[in-house]
Symmetry: D2
Subunit: 506 residues, 4 copies
């Protein structure tokens, strides 16, 4: 509503009230102005109404929403389903132009602004989360793996002779695939066991660099966030090696933004050595739907080069999601989430420690991993391989998601490469184990329910094992399983601890 | 976004594009300004984005949406469920103040504007629909019946001695109840049969006025829209009687806005005689959810008096619905709907005529009723009472809604009053019949499906009757009924005539 | 999705995963079944997805959402605007039938279920809130005032000779209007001053009953929730008088559900004496938009009689709002809100006490009023009348809503009745004062902001008064006012106390 | 609602009505079952309520929506903003698994089903649109260019020696970039001029193949949809060459699904020769937001290989959009859009022909291009280069989007490659021209407004040119420009032709 509209309004309703209303409107506008001027995440989260006003204002700047537009091109932002238009707040043109995913679209000033602001906010948050010297970043509507591929493809043009990527082993398929898809040969560096932890073998890395020759190496591809007992790579030392040998360094920081330790590694690496880009998942760090990543770095020009490698426009959806999320949370809200995650990590550790000891198992000592934990499954494993995977499926059926059992001796071949001990990041870890992680957004009740259900599962398996040992083959699980549904239905009660007795007695 | 925000935007994105965007914004603002300045329904319907922008702008003028508001009253527009807030576009304060449903709320400039504009738009549409000399109206969040009650209660204060309401009979419970609830005694004037039509007995009305004495009569309560074979009251002549005897006249125009004939009656009545207020349903005339009515009239002061009789604030929901609907349709869209309804009426008439003749029945000749039609059910009725109601329930089961069978001889007692021949508006209509109406929003496929299903039902019943006459009591309906579900599932095909064979053969 | 769909799904995706998914669906269904079977508010609030699934399931039971429906009636639930349909979750048919607002609609099984369940849930909550012996209630889509009118209109049919309503004075227009609109003569019983409190004059009530004769009295119309220094009526004693003289008793419990004290009064009144119905606002007690009320009572038949007095269908919107709200909150969530309100009341009391003493004013001692508080404005008042109202408008401009200043000597005439000392519930209260209330949903920051702003306003006025006394007429308020906008813009900071210095220094 | 819930419902509301409602529910379920069983696009579009029910049912099968889920992984589908969750219908887990974008996710049975069904529907539509023998396809949340890159990267593994991609020139940056990004060297084959058309130089292609040797060639990369006067490549003949030399063939069918001619080329090419994959944009063919593409082909195994090259999960957003769109439209709705587009193409042709002749220009004769048209700008160009680009910006300012002016002699260097005559697909096209296209979703009013505005712009420029020739340098454009805003504001009227006089006189 413009001035004339307010004046007309004053004739219909008391001027004093309309003035108060238009005054109130200014507070919303003020927040929007601050955002556009500073390009920083507001400290306090925005009200839903400010957020929607802002999105609405941006959207009507796109040509598909012009009241008088006529379109005679091949891509005019037309939408057949009004439900689809609405769920995208009428942003239809995506982001970027054919040449550059960060470029501005003449047809879509609003979407272009959205894109710029989102990247600016995300940069602000990366700084806040610990990488203070980051200089540029952009949101790309591809998962972490494909984003890593894009980085490698960009490097190819700078290092035409390179064929290899040095890669301290991490058993996660998409990390490996990201190199294969880009057309490079991963040189796997096995981890070394230090105590319970699996850590980067720096000597092996350097030896390999010397062996292959720096020019034949596209880059070192290191990893921060990972499942215990593997711990984040020694990024700092790797960065130094890269600097020394003049080799690019790409860091897979998949879900590392949520951990100050991971972010610190990157900040330090860049300070003392070389890091060309670090890539992180949007969904895993910012509680948005799967589908986006952030490519960030310390050299403006290189980050822009990557953004120019993406051919064609791209979905604005991940950018919109993270923008909405950050504006809702505010930087304070995000900080609170980080803090809470850390607390949950401690809580989960202590609970797992206690439970594991009750079963004569052990929480692996992995102090360098700030997110993931591992509990040995020695007793189970000794009994039979099957027991370990059975535990996994029992947990799944009981609606525990994300817990991961790692049996010994699993072998997997990926694009011609054979990994022994797959999932455990090493050819033969001393024992089978179970992973659990404290990721951003986790709540006390997640921990409590997990511990309770894990306890029940372990109890059941032990009982079975005992019975089998006694050669009395009665399957007690069947009756147990009948309870699962019932249990699931009672969970909401259980969640709040109101019916603890009932649950624990069932 | 204000000027500073656009300037900041120009720094992020090309100034030319941002300017184009802010230019585009002005088209939306222009439409909003026109609305507020003229208070008329726009000719062309608004785009969803203009509509939502407008509602958003209004909502942030309400104190519950002020970013810095602090509330220390007993009614602060707080909402517990964000889903509820969103579905009301964050208009929480309702409309009106304790003294007057049309009054402006200091706490809610936006809701107050919404209320004013809605009433203004609705007035515009009533004029357009045919009552050109209407001077004032307001939307009230109560159904037609309760709104009539409010009119009667208002009149009570002006006519303290009055006890009776003169009411040409119409067999619709809420009409009757509206008078009972207001505490008056309805004086029922039986209709007279003219050809097939039931029409107002003007002489009986005048005789009753003279018998009871004008001062003891609160008002005449006439009706326009009604089920055939009753036709709209002779509103013009009743208005003259009211003027002559100085008696108020309230017209129940429930679903009459959609018919130029009904509206013309009111316009003429007011021109040559006396009409104090006419009341119409929102849902039946404007395709919105049930729950609101419009009280309109020719004397500003009296309409305001009624609006001041409503004690307390009221729901803004019906006002919001009709506002959204009229802005989406535009006056042209509404006119199109009126035109289409008229065409559907002709189509339904001709189809019903044809079908009824095939069964040796007759479409009653009711040229004064512009909306509702009636087809005799003589054959059925002759056979047995039950057959008529059976037809009704067969149609219901077959997802025909709104068709109404009227058997002979139904008796109903309402608040002590006994109505013989209830539903047929007269003690004993010559025959049983079936009603169908062409109401606003009806589509060709409604008519086609109805005719097809009615045909099938009649066929089934005839067959049964024949069989019973042959004294072979096998119930064929059972097998028929088994088909109903199957049929229902095929309806979407049938709707488009693609599978006609299949449907007609089943 | 039915069994066949799941089976088809198992062919597309792993059966184990689909089974897990269909299992999960059962938890939602279980909650819905419990609700329908028990008709009670669930203890724990529902997830948004369960809620929406439930509403969706209900809506598709209404004929307007039948895929194969054909409508040939005058009211077929057609909707022109898809935005309108969506915001009502496609419930279009409203609630009730022409004869009875609680009746079931053949065309709308879903809406009918919604209506029944809502009433059942609301009854459950009223019991929980303290009126354990309530036997029936229904939600009516009208504000409290109009709902009281409906009660009076219903009583009229039972007491044809009655002309008067005995009404302990409360200065709230819609209370008074509710009687006038119903066509009765309110007999105002002045309150008596006990300490600072204004309380029911029981003797005057009884004297009036005797004077007028019980048969000429429609009912006693008492009030619980009200602005201090008036306190809730002595409902218990009034109920006894009503029982003794065989007079109906209607209690206006507008925003009393939120206070256990108000609810206790009603519970006790019904136990020891007579209460026919008590009426409460939906919005003020359940944090939903304005527009609905609950009419409740202890005699099933009488409550049904009232529901049958509402002529015609009615909006389902208020019912839908309260249903969504209660299912989201759960009874535990609602109890938490009640508890929090009580705490806020204590906090507001202590803060107001402290502030008032700093200005040599006094928090009135009104221990019987559990919601509203009053602070004297003696100093202001001594200076000039204008100062009191000026404080009111200063607070309004500073986005304090709901604070109410009550000057001395205001006179108001309502429908021929003159009220001296209007707003103060008595002809001449000893001093001017300011009201503030702790209503459900209030937050600490509401109190803090209010106290801060009130402090600033009082300071400003005192300064002015001093200056005027010094006969130096410089208006400092102007410069003050320029700060208001600025201040408003800083409020979000202020809200969290981050910039306290800045705010207090401005 | 399950059986028990309905039974409970029958106790609250009449059993007959509840049964009718539950019967009605079955029609929705029936449609869902058919979809899951057949995997085909329904002929008739679904009702919004069926669509939302379906999405809701799928979503509650994902673990993040399990009521009793506890998550202890690093990716648990948590969402911080409820607005974000809602706009994704609570599908948070994306599609695919780390190894394969088409893989099923254990945590997300609903999202997995969504993915499978979408791909199945899209395959159905590709067949319907003309490529009957397509055997497999999948939606990928990347634009066409990046999707082409993925195809090239997949081929790399099969053709390790290949360095070149044979590419008949098309001046669209992302096509070129798609090859560069994948790390290959595009071998540009210049087009030949036949009449006005620019067509594939088949001889040059074959010569190049022989020159470079088939093994060094990754693939031929041909194009269907393009801007006139370039026309779709001779795909059939290219496919034969590819078959003969055993070279893969990737077709960029960006916006070709909407044209039966483009689809026919592909179908024929695959029949008589070799096509490995063809890639099309989601937004340009299916009226959804930018961000997705479909990779399709005739060899199941190869398409699966591509899907396995995408490392990591991906956004479900484009899949969801196209699913919602196709279910809303139904195949009949989509066919109607295709038909309408064809008609608009004829209309646009004839209107452009007429207008161009009025200005002594000419519609280029490009019968092989079914979508794009070109009009000469000879007069403008003769006068000055600037005039051509000025026309472009005048059209932009007047809210004509998608019209493209192509001046002569533009030179552009992309990744080291210099293109003379850039934008015109050839080093030196005989004349400057203007492009306009008839794309899916275009309406008559788009054409009419475009012609009207183009006419005005040409008139203005001619006038200026004349004036400049007369050496009277008064800039009339300034006053013209002042009208633009005014004009924009009147557009909604103009759109419906109501105010033609006003518009043409301004």
């Amino acid at each position: 509503m413009n001035r004339e509209s307010f004046t007309a309004g004053e004739r219909l309703v008391s001027p004093a009230y309309v003035r108060q209303g238009s005054e109130a409107r200014r507070s919303h506008e003020h927040l929007i102005r601050l955002l556009l001027e500073k390009g920083k995440c507001p400290e306090d989260g925005w009200d839903e109404s400010t957020l929607e006003l802002f999105l609405h204002e941006l959207a009507i700047m796109d040509s598909n929403n012009f009241l008088g537009n006529c379109g005679v091109g091949e891509r005019e932002g037309r939408v057949a389903s009004s439900l689809v238009a609405r769920r995208h707040y009428r942003f239809i043109h995506g982001i970027g132009r054919s040449g550059d995913i960060s470029a501005v679209q003449p047809k879509a000033a609003g979407s272009s602004l959205l894109n710029k602001i989102t990247n600016s906010l995300v940069l602000d948050i990366i700084k806040l989360a610990g990488v203070h010297s980051v200089s540029n970043c952009f949101v790309v509507p591809m998962a972490t793996g494909m984003s890593l591929t894009l980085c490698f493809l960009t490097l190819r043009h700078k290092r035409p002779k390179a064929k290899y990527i040095i890669w301290p082993r991490i058993d996660q398929k998409s990390c490996f695939k990201s190199m294969i898809t880009a057309g490079f040969e991963p040189v796997v560096i096995e981890n070394v066991l230090e105590g319970d932890e699996l850590r980067t073998d720096l000597r092996a890395v350097e030896a390999k660099v010397q062996e292959l020759g720096p020019d034949s190496i596209l880059c070192v591809h290191s990893t921060t966030s990972c499942f215990a007992p593997r711990v984040p790579d020694r990024v700092e030392e790797l960065a130094v090696i890269c600097a020394n040998y003049n080799i690019p360094h790409i860091v897979n920081n998949a879900y590392g933004v949520q951990s100050s330790k991971c972010m610190h590694l990157i900040q330090q690496g860049a300070r003392v050595g070389r890091i060309d880009a670090f890539v992180q998942s949007l969904d895993k760090n910012f509680l948005v739907p799967v589908g986006g990543a952030i490519i960030a770095g310390f050299n403006d020009a290189f980050i822009q080069e990557i953004s120019k490698m993406y051919p064609g426009r791209a979905s604005a959806s991940p950018s919109l999601d993270v923008l909405m999320t950050l504006l809702s949370l505010g930087s304070n809200g995000y900080k609170d989430l980080l803090k809470e995650r850390k607390e949950m990590f401690s809580y989960l550790s202590s609970q797992l420690k206690q439970l594991s000891e009750a079963y004569n198992e052990r929480l692996l000592h992995t102090p360098h991993n700030p997110i993931s934990l591992a509990v040995t499954l020695q007793m189970l494993d000794e009994h039979s391989d099957k027991a370990v995977t059975e535990l996994g499926s029992m947990l799944f059926t009981r609606q525990v998601s994300g817990a991961r059992v790692v049996p010994l001796g699993s072998v997997q071949t990926l694009s011609g490469h054979t990994f022994r001990g797959f999932m455990s990041h090493t050819d033969s870890y001393p024992c089978a184990y179970l992973n659990a992680a404290s990721a951003i957004g986790m709540k006390t009740q997640d921990v409590d329910l997990f511990i309770k259900r894990l306890d029940k599962c372990l109890k059941t398996i032990r009982r079975e094992q005992k019975r089998e040992n006694d050669e009395s083959g009665v399957d007690s699980e069947k009756t147990e399983d009948a309870d699962v549904t019932e249990m699931a239905l009672q969970l909401d009660n259980a969640l709040l601890g109101t019916n603890t007795n009932q649950d624990s007695s069932s």
